[in-house]
Amino acid sequence: MHSLIQLSIAVLLLPLLSFVILIFFNKRLPRRGDFIGVGILGTTFALSLYIFWSVVVQAYDPAFRVAWDFTWIDFGNVPGVGPLEIKMGIVIDNLTAIMLAMVTLISFLVHLYSTGYMAGDKHYGRFFAYLGIFTFSMLGIVLSDNLFAIYIFWELVGLSSYLLIGFYFEKDSAADAQKKAFLANRVGDIGMWLGILILYSQFHTFSYQEIFANLAAGKFGMSEAWLTAAGILLFMGCVGKSAQFPLHVWLPDAMEGPTPVSALIHAATMVAAGVYFVARIFVLLTADALHVIAFIGAFTAFMAATIAITQHDIKRVLAYSTVSQLGYMVLGLGVGAYSAALFHLVTHAFFKACLFLGSGAIIHAMHHEQDMRWMGGLRKNMPWTFATFTLATLALAGLPLTSGFMSKDAILAGAIGFANAEGGGIYYLIPFLGFFSAMLTAFYMGRQIWLVFFGESRTHLKPADDHHHGHDAHAAHGHDDHHEEAHGVHEVAWNMRTPLVILAALSIFAVYSPDPLDGAKGWFMSMVPTPETVVGSAAGEAQPHETSSASGNAAQLLAEAIPAGTHGAETDAHSEGVASEAASEEHGSAAAVHGTTHGEAHGHEFSDPRQASIAHAAHEAHNPAIVISSIMVVLGISLALIVYVFRIIDPDKTAQSIRPLYLFSFNKWYWDEIYQATFIRGSLVISKVFSWFDTNIIDGIVNGVAVVTKKVAFASGGFDKYVVDGTVNFTAFFVNTTGGILKKLQTGKVQTYVVLLMLAVIGYFVYYFTQLIS
């Protein structure tokens, strides 16, 4: 077993250990055991950082891959199913290493931050336990090498999300939110499971690599529509988990959870799991499935951005912003900008976690006031929070020199390239929505910064009856008088400030790329190259290529397998059973050669014509995308300045003049109401129909049977009583009557008997002689 695999198993299991210790013993430990959670996560982060260092920095090979698996359950040959063997395994490539470092870093920082934010909560210890199991599940998703394992961890993540959203379960709103989140996720997960089953029915394996190899070999037995359906069904899992358009409604409500949870789960990691999963299955998505994904992502990005501009709750603005940014990532995957989407996933995770933790600091300092209308002027009181929050905001808005600019720009360049390559008018909608959302993002983040940090404090403006508006209240912090607290807002302690600083620092361009305008020149996009599709836009085109690379011919590897990226290596290692390290080494040298001939970035030449044309077009669209997105950001920020700083346009009057639009946005496009009226009402109607059916038809049948049985029993009883008993009684009566008649003969007098005897003898003789005569 490779040492990295051993380390990654330790990384996976340590948070579980934290969970087990804390869930059982937190009340017996000093400080409710928070130091165990923080300590274990710190260790986990250190190990992950080592893995990251070994894989990404030392190996520096786009095709790096080590894998290990074992048979978990072997059912043998199941009748009607075929061979059913479930394997569990770990795969470590560049993406895994980056995700490991990202997840453990944010989890560690959130643990640290929670020691301040959650201090004094009555379920303080349990909070850390839940964070532990969440981190365990999330790392499981990241490390899994097959669909079955990822589905298990997927559900575990859903469970921990459920537990943490409903952490303040005494509140009805939190309990409702956790149920909503769980149910919305279930809807997506059903689709995901069906997608897994479609693939399983064809290949009898859950492993990514085996599925991809089979697909590349053209062994998919059904029509391509089924493959598209499988892709879209698997994407449904992402729709649920990453809060994409039809199922996005749960994420804003999930803000009922404690703010560190919002930062960890509902901004940085769990919601990104959906995007990560789509990236894992990216190569099997057909062009049609990718179009669906792209449109859903674009629509989600746009819709959530329009909602975010009118929300008052500081966390809800960030929640809709998260939905919008996840839409960007999904859009990126849909248009084939794989590296860019994952790049955005990582950059977004850092700056959005920073924003959420910053908002948590504000909420903490404001004594659980979440409504931005009653904030203002906090920049003097909370300079650290202000600085980090602003930096993260600029990254989210996508201002040049930030990480967000590079990743968002790469996605938008991909979108333009996609639209150009596809050549259809409707496809220009995707980059258009993307750019428009970028402007809206800049606008609503400008609005938020202004409302929260600038101007004068508006605490005293808060209506008195709105006193208990704070959603995030916990027991130890009573609702003190907000009016007097206005001037008592202080900067948070070091354990809450440190995570903010670290996360803000990770939002600077230099961490990812030397060129602030081009993320593709950085290590990230070089290390996570877009993989070659295994399904091909023209059927069968990719096959000869794949088989030749699988043959392991060194010359062909140099000539062809390099563009194939990770695929060739994976197929190779799998089919020949060669230790994967050997395969990756081979490719490492190949990649070095490749790097020198083609340059660091844009090194991929796809054999699939569709992918190649999109990649080419995206490369060409790079500079226009920079210009347009910069203009959009400047436009958005200027609009925010005009409205909120210079007050040239009064926001309230504008809202009045376009009241229908304002209400449409403020009420979140009425999705909740629409779902209430359709699915929820529909479910209730169906349940009523079933209830009616149950009470009237089922119970009717049961009662009918009972009545019939009763009638039959009565008939049977009557028969018994009148016929059977009647016969018996009649027999008795007949015998009695006959006896009564005959007993008269028995007088007891001897002479009567003699007479009778004589009569009988005479009678006999009379008869005898009559016979004799005749």
């Binding site: 007891g748 002479q751 004589m758």
Partner: protein, 105 residues
């Protein structure tokens, strides 16, 4: 002797039938148990006459043997019957058979 030689089987049977009729009449009508027993004796003797008559006209000795047997039997019967009558008298203080009907029903 002419008269005697003219006596045939029918004469015996006629006498026997008359005797049987008297006996039966006595058994059926008399109330005194002793008289009924006497009627029974008449019936037995009517039977004896029949045995002897048939024996004489058939030439065999079986009828004679049977009649002797019946006489012995009649003696025994009389002894037992009289004993029963005495016991009935002891219980009912009467030998009137019409009043002895405890076997009724």
């Amino acid at each position: 002797m002419e008269l005697i030689t003219n006596i045939g089987l029918n004469h015996f049977l006629t006498i026997s039938a008359l005797l049987f009729g008297f006996g039966l009449f006595a058994v059926m009508t008399r109330k005194n148990a002793i008289v009924i027993l006497m009627g029974v004796e008449l019936i037995l003797n009517a039977a004896n006459i029949n045995f002897l008559a048939f024996s004489k006209f058939n030439g065999g000795m079986e009828g004679v043997m049977f009649s002797l047997f019946v006489i012995v039997l009649a003696a025994a019967e009389a002894a037992i019957a009289l004993a029963i009558v005495i016991n009935i008298y002891k219980i009912f203080r009467s030998v009137d058979v019409s009043s002895i009907d405890t076997m009724k029903e």
